[in-house]
Subunit: 642 residues, 2 copies
């Protein structure tokens, strides 16, 4: 089954995600289109589309007006936007949008060289330096994103123009790295996972082979980038080629045991590795993926699903090093973790992958975007301290409010492509078993073989009731329904047609045997009791602290609800936590939590020998994804518990 | 009274500091001498002495063998060492050491140019670039340190050779910046405070004028360094000349309100400013010093007296930003804070300056050196996490064990010069009042006018009893004794000859009227009750945490005493803290603390929905200054309190 099959088969109809799908169509995509065309006042300039125009002019006239502007990987921004638009068009056909996409694709095509090469940075700015700096220059990365866009656009709209363009580019890459035997691999992984998608879309085995090639050569020669630097004699940022962990080339990928270096690079690589393991049956590759997964989720992931503890290198650091206020937690990295989880879920049916996927999606990724879809976080800390966050020399990255756009704008269009493609992660189909991973309402077409659809109604994330009903053209569908039992639901009740369902639990899924007919209904009631989450004692920043979670949502306390500040607040260990009514008009619809706790009365001076008084208070918490939507604000996910 | 008068008059005889004085003579100075001569195996190379040899050869032969090695300010290492040796020679006459010092001074003299200029970096490596990069190149900084050494050596040994050398260099600087009117000031302040010392030592008003000039021009033109960079076209480290806060030239010094930028630069500058305010009676300069002092000690200082929260720029960050595990807290910065406090104490008799001076000395500065005097910390965090500290990308600076030496070795010789000069800080003499600031045992010669000495016996830091007795050649000394009432002693008892003394308290000093004769004794008993210290709630890292302090000593928990780790430990808010017996054989003599508390039992996994169990335990704490003397170890100053 193609990657996009599930996206195409799943029509979202969900109270919570439905809003996001509409938002993507109505606000996010139009806003980003303007941003990529430099039409947002007061925002950082993108120049992305303009770079393509200049590259096209360069190819046509041998010269161009103006200069390349932006990051060396600026091309990838429009690729991600196109991919998001493709998914959105599936759900919301929009002839105007599709026409504009087609025009952008024509522009992209006109920036492609005769030999298939496509990259505006090199075409406009460095025509003689193609392929000389794989360590930094992101050529294969940009190609990967445009390939993903091409596959998505072809699958979603049936239009193959971009796919043809990118097959020519992929052929050009194949020619260079396989036929001609050129050395090297991409400093920023992405091409690997993209080529796997291209392979599945086209059936061309060469693309799979090329993906495997790039996976295999990575880290085989640890000094490859050192030699490249010596040879190429130019650098984009002066990255240290000896810092092999940064690029995950410190060891052959099958020997890697810890998630290290730039977090986005890491999870993009692991996604490609897992996909390749899936398609090739390579057990050692799958084993490496499992080890790396366990290291991330067992030692290096924030409770919000954010990954990457350090600003330095936007990187993983060491086990249990998860500082809250200086967290990097790039939005793209959480998205990449979802990609990785998605592939692992296909490699093996274990709900632990979906648990993390859900955690990253509902918390870190959604927090990456303002509720109105027009501002974005690149970095997602778990504590915000106005006056320090985004201001202190050590904290330039942890902005406490979302900017309109970024010089390095990888995250916003990544959100725009993820949100309309959640169908791919919500379900897994395998033979006659339908795995329900994420509880997002909608209708899933099971295709001709099973002959029908599943309709899911879901109250999540605020109401734990989920109902599956069935539409069968054949009277009944001979299938098995596997419902994920989320780690946060202690007592899950599953009924079939009003009576306790018969099911077996394996790997975190409840397997309910069919057949299912139009008159059947499976009702699942998840346990939405508020959970207190505790970090391992080795996480220094969370000592004696607690985070509150309800369903998949991690909560945080913001100054706006708590008399302007949260650093003085502690949660009572024996106190009650009350769940507020659903408030449709607040923060686009939330249920707040109200926890019994204490407020420490501020002492005078920096230090005091007198224990400050604590007075009882009620602490209001909101879902983490909704933070920073009410101006500059203190915020804390982890609160002391006393 | 000259700066060194008190050092010369005070003969230390103290159980605690006496060990440090001997250590400086027996271990620290000889070890550092070897390091500066590149004779310590396995240590970073210094090349400091060798640079002087090469400079001398260059002047003699117009060429030299080898190349300059080390930091641009490498010359200052030997200057600080010489200054330390000078103080040590006062207490421990040592003909061999003095001879070697004289030889080094001759070597320094032979590296001086005809025109008085002295700097091996420029003589050996960049002869054409003198005075072209004041922002980075540390010429005035090195001159300042060598001037301090010259003054100290002249005062302590009576030998004026180095003083003559440095007067020639000071004259050269005067010629350039005053007579010829060259623009500029030093990127790293130090020359200002040094010139004030040179002025007091020589009585030459020009040096005071030059110091005031450098203070006055700083920040007057905020873009001075930008213009300099444009003109000079070379850079040492590529420092950003627009980052005016880093160099404290963001505003004229009298208008500065917050302690910003590189912490050592800041406190060296403020020391010079306070000294200049003292000598010139400039009220606006004194007011700026008070504001900056209040900002540091009220918002930007660790409980150990460490300053500088960020690795980035070795700098102050923002108010209340005091992260423990990533603290910079450079040893030199705490030393500079002591210098600043010393000058403020002369500006006004307020014990708050001595409180901080004591805090920085007994905690941060002493922690900067291994107990055996042969290893050193540059950075002094309040939490050490082996596996993260000194290892994570974000924590290259917070080494959990002391190295033998540093490429940038400013701190070790700074400790070597501070410790034998504590007399300067222990006492203030003003007319007929003797201020007792630090309780370090010894004999203070009050000079001919008062005609006698004070002898102090002190049990600090472990025993709170201090006794003052008197030796008078005239029968009685017509003086007033002002005993500092430390902030940590709630109930201080002062007796004179066995009966409660009559005294008035003002500005944190108990003023006891004389006269005092040979038969008098003033006994002070400080309250050594263990104090629980609480940080302001705005300090995020210390939320619901407590530090323990007894007398001037801040304590910490180390893994070595607590089953290998400390992150699981919490102190019981209603629990007792037992004070251990003095253990002369442990950590060179300490009293440990034993606090009732809890140990959190480690959960499996990174996160858990189950509250981890806490079991009662006794937590052992040691003085912070003694940490990291027993190998790689977790360490925490601030522990959760429950």
């Amino acid at each position: 089954m193609g990657d996009l099959d599930l996206i195409k088969r799943f029509k979202i109809d969900d109270g919570f995600f439905g809003r996001y799908e509409r938002l993507v169509r109505e606000n996010v995509l139009p806003y980003q289109e303007k941003a990529l065309n430099d039409m947002i006042e007061g925002a950082e300039k993108s120049h992305c589309i303009e770079n393509f125009r200049m590259a096209a002019q360069m190819l046509k006239e041998g010269r161009c007006d103006g200069e390349f502007y932006g990051m060396v990987f600026q091309d990838s921004d429009i690729a991600k936007w196109l991919e998001g638009a493709a998914y959105s068009l599936l759900m919301y056909p929009d002839a105007e949008l599709e026409k504009r996409c087609d025009e952008v694709i024509e522009l992209i095509g006109s920036a492609q060289h005769e030999d298939g090469y496509l990259n505006t940075y090199f075409t406009v700015k460095e025509p003689d330096k193609r392929w000389t700096n794989l360590c930094e220059a992101h050529e294969l990365y940009c190609a990967g994103h445009m390939i993903e866009a091409a596959v998505a656009y072809a699958e979603c709209t049936g239009k193959k123009r971009l796919l043809e363009i990118m097959c020519r580019m992929a052929d050009h890459i194949y020619e260079r790295f396989i036929t001609e035997g050129a050395e090297g691999f991409s400093g920023h992984p992405e091409i690997e996972l993209a080529l796997m998608r291209l392979y599945r879309c086209t059936g061309d085995e060469r693309y799979k082979g090329l993906a495997l090639h790039f996976i295999d050569v990575r880290g085989a020669d640890r000094e490859y980038y050192v030699k490249e630097r010596e040879k190429c004699c130019w650098t984009v940022w002066g990255n240290n080629p000896w810092d092999t962990e940064y690029n995950q080339c410190h060891a052959p990928v099958r020997e890697q045991t810890k998630a290290v270096g730039h977090a986005v690079r890491a999870v993009y690589l692991y996604t490609g590795m897992a996909d390749a393991a899936l398609e090739s049956g390579d057990g050692s590759l799958a084993a490496a993926c499992r080890r790396l997964w366990d290291n991330i989720t067992g030692c290096r992931m924030y409770v919000t699903g954010a990954i990457g503890s350090a600003y330095e290198g936007e990187a993983f650091t060491e086990d249990y090093h998860l500082p809250n206020d200086s967290a990097y937690g790039e939005t793209c990295a959480a998205i990449g973790l979802i990609f990785f989880a998605g592939k692992m879920l296909r490699l093996e049916h274990d709900a632990k992958y979906a648990d993390v996927m859900e955690r990253a999606l509902y918390n870190c990724v959604l927090a990456g975007m303002e509720l109105d879809g027009t501002k974005f976080f690149y970095v997602n800390p778990l504590e915000a301290l106005p006056g320090i966050s985004g201001k202190a020399r050590s904290h330039p990255h942890t902005l406490p409010v979302r900017p309109k756009w970024f010089t390095c704008a990888c995250c916003p269009p990544n959100v725009a492509r993820l949100l309309p493609s959640v169908g791919e992660y919500a379900w897994t189909l395998e033979e006659n078993t339908v795995y329900s991973n994420l509880f997002i309402g909608g209708k899933l077409d099971l295709g001709d073989k099973l002959g029908g659809s599943i309709i899911m109604q879901s109250g999540l994330p605020y109401d734990g009731r989920v109902r599956y009903t069935f539409e069968s053209s054949l009277g009944a569908m001979n299938m098995r329904l596997a419902v994920r039992m989320p780690d946060w639901s202690e007592n899950t009740v599953i009924n079939k047609n009003g009576a306790p369902a018969v099911y077996e639990v394996s790997g975190g899924y409840a397997y309910i045997e069919g057949p299912f007919s139009d008159s059947d209904a499976v009702d699942v009631e998840f346990d939405m009791t508020v959970k207190r989450v505790y970090a391992n004692v080795d996480v220094s920043d969370d000592s004696n602290k607690v985070a509150l979670q309800r369903g998949p949502l991690v909560y945080c306390a913001e100054g706006a609800d708590n008399d302007g500040e949260v650093l003085s607040l502690s949660i009572a260990s024996d106190g009650a936590v009350r769940v507020g009514e659903y408030a449709p008009d607040e923060l686009c619809g939330v249920r707040k939590l109200y926890a019994e706790g204490f407020k420490t009365v501020k002492n005078n001076g920096l230090y005091s020998y007198i224990r400050p008084k604590k007075i009882s208070c009620e602490i209001t918490l909101i879902p983490y994804y909704a933070w920073a939507n009410r101006g500059l604000n203190q915020m804390r996910v982890w609160l002391p518990e006393i």
